[in-house]
């Protein structure tokens, strides 16, 4: 496996943050693993036993060819088979906004994993707010590059909304960071103040209460 494949700097910035939260040797499930960049990085640098799930035949085949454990399928159905606490960490990166039943899914993920890490685009970022306020249009940004008629995103979430939601369903936040990304999301920085206004993504590590 060549280093270019698994170097941290070429990975999406939210995945870089997520990787830094995962302890060496953990059992990890990556939902919507795409080309397997996170799994390959974790396998090589953290000796993680990882599994990925993705819907695309091409992406799954690419992952298996590079030596990763990956299943082709709809992860909302696939996760049901796993026994309780099968994984130390379940990762759901940039997919939450496309889930029909986020409550049921998160609770199921917290059953099969001791902890769940989610990252999601923050719809309350100032550029979204400005577009609605000044142009009166549904926001289109680097993180949310779709028009209303072709977006796969069916949930509009902000960091503040998500906190309320977690409180309502009784899930604890173990760790949280808000990030501001640029350069096609490959680079970024942590946002400490006015997160819900300034961050493009929220990332949280969750566990059962």
């Amino acid at each position: 496996m060549n280093n270019a494949d698994t170097s941290c700097a070429t990975m999406r910035f939210d995945l870089q943050v997520i990787a830094s939260w995962i302890a060496p040797g953990s059992r990890v499930l990556d939902l919507g693993c795409a080309n397997g960049d996170l799994l390959a990085y974790l396998k090589e640098h953290r000796k993680v036993k990882g599994t990925g799930i993705d819907f695309s035949e091409e992406k799954v085949a690419h992952c298996i060819e590079r030596g990763l454990t990956v299943l082709q399928g709809d992860f909302r159905e696939e996760v049901g088979d796993y026994p309780k606490n099968r994984f130390d960490v379940v990762v759901l990166s940039q997919t939450l906004q496309q889930i029909r039943d986020p409550r049921e899914l998160l609770l199921d993920l917290l059953r099969i994993g001791k902890r769940v890490i989610v990252s999601f685009p923050n719809f309350a970022h100032w550029s979204c707010r400005l577009q609605v306020l000044f142009f009166g249009t549904a926001p289109v940004t680097d993180q949310l590059p779709y028009d209303w008629y072709n977006t796969p995103n069916i949930r509009v979430i902000s960091i503040r909304d998500f906190h309320r939601f977690l409180h309502m369903i009784g899930v604890r936040v173990v760790k949280e960071v808000a990030i501001n990304t640029h350069h096609h999301d490959c680079k970024g920085n942590t946002v400490r103040y006015f997160k819900n206004f300034r961050a493009t993504y929220g990332i949280m590590m969750l566990e059962r209460v």
């Binding site: 036993k49 599994t51 035949e57 799954v60 085949a61 298996i64 060819e65 590079r66 030596g67 990763l68 454990t69 990956v70 299943l71 082709q72 399928g73 696939e78 088979d81 796993y82 026994p83 099968r86």
Partner: protein, 383 residues
């Protein structure tokens, strides 16, 4: 001619070998309770077993296959083995790196003991006095061969269709001897549809008067019944798409015959396949092997036999093919679902392919990449 010499030089020659065991009084006790012995398995090997003996891969052929996976048995042979596109030097299952073994299954007719073999007492072919064998019996016989070769643990067991059933049986019976497994285009239990097709094939043979209750070895045998059985098989190996693409309604002759000779290319294709099969396969072997496939059910009773602690250490790559309607993708997914519950490391991919069930045998870059990448990985993990 220079070219033909060059061609011949490039041919990888392989020798068919034989291993005989279970000599009386130590016959093998089969699933059905009867004893069978001596048992001979025909097998071939490619590559070299390394000093640690940890680079061995056992390939299982499908129901009508044989031990001749790759290369040529004789210089003058025109066609290589049945999976030559997959197995060989620098091929996806690279014989420069791995030691590959394949044996003809118990009950078959291509060198291993089966209904056409001579009965040890009478010297005449067994015919229907050959005991019923199961996939488990086939695998137990293969285990004798692997022990004989001095291999304690197989790097991988690989097979499609009935070969995939053997892969799964190996995992259930000898999980400690299996590092990884690649079941292709297969199922953990034979479906009603698959049993139905097999039964029609068997009836075609048994309805042929020349079958003579299986006692036909001094005559031509049930050639017509066997050809029809094969024609049915080939229908199930293709797909609606594959047939439309391959034949459509194209005619075999210039105009319609207004009779019952072959008019369409698809008819002549099936006739050709039937005829070819009669020349190389024994009708009784077809009866026995299809029955073994029909009996195959790893989910019998309440729990699955694949739920087994030992299996948690086996790494799986399960592959199905989108147009396979004999062992459709949902059956591979059911297998994956059980393996996940077990805690096994399991990867799964449904390969987009038009070829129907036959797709696993046809050249396919995606399948090549999957198998090659997976084997690289399990080899690195083990070594």
């Amino acid at each position: 001619m220079v070219t033909s010499t060059d061609n011949n030089k490039r041919k990888t020659l392989v020798e068919r070998q034989y291993y005989t065991f279970a000599h009386p009084p130590d016959e093998m006790v089969l699933d059905c309770g009867e004893k069978l012995g001596p048992i001979t398995l025909a097998y071939e090997t490619w590559g070299t077993l390394n000093a640690q003996k940890n680079n061995a891969i056992l390939i299982h052929h499908a129901f009508s296959g044989d031990s001749h996976v790759a290369g040529y048995l004789k210089e003058e042979d025109e066609r290589p083995g049945w999976w030559d596109n997959m197995v060989g030097p620098d091929k996806p299952i690279d014989t420069n790196k791995y030691f590959v073994i394949c044996s003809n299954i118990l009950g078959s007719c291509v060198g291993s003991t089966g209904p056409s073999s001579p009965h040890p007492v009478t010297g005449k072919p067994y015919g229907l006095s050959f005991p019923m064998v199961t996939i488990k019996d086939m695998v137990r016989a293969q285990k004798e061969l692997i022990d004989h070769l001095g291999i304690k643990k197989l790097l991988s067991v690989i097979g499609g269709s009935v070969g995939g059933m053997q892969v799964l049986r190996w995992c259930v019976e000898y999980p400690e001897m299996v590092h990884s497994a690649i079941p292709l285009a297969t199922t953990l239990r034979h479906s009603a549809q698959a049993i139905a097709f097999n039964e029609v094939a068997r009836q075609a043979i048994m309805a042929d008067p020349d079958w003579n209750q299986g006692d036909y070895y001094n005559g031509s045998g049930p050639t017509h019944g066997l050809a029809v059985a094969r024609m049915i098989g080939h229908v199930t190996y293709l797909s609606d798409d594959a047939m439309r693409e391959k034949f459509g309604r194209r005619l075999y002759r210039d105009t319609l015959s207004f009779g019952f000779d072959s008019d369409f290319q698809v008819e002549s294709y099936l006739h050709h396949q039937g005829k070819k099969f009669v020349d190389r396969f024994d009708a009784n072997s077809l009866l026995y092997i299809t029955k073994a496939a029909d009996y195959f059910d790893l989910a019998r009773g309440d729990g699955s036999m694949l739920v087994n602690e030992g299996l948690a250490n086996v790494t799986f790559l399960v592959v199905s093919f989108s147009s396979d309607w004999l062992y459709p993708t949902y059956q591979s997914k059911a297998l994956v679902s059980v393996l996940k519950k077990n805690g096994s490391d399991v990867s799964f991919c449904e390969v987009e392919a038009q070829g129907g069930h036959d797709a696993f045998l046809l050249p396919n870059e995606r399948l090549n990449g999957l198998i090659n990448g997976f084997l690289d990985r399990v080899y690195d993990e083990q070594c």
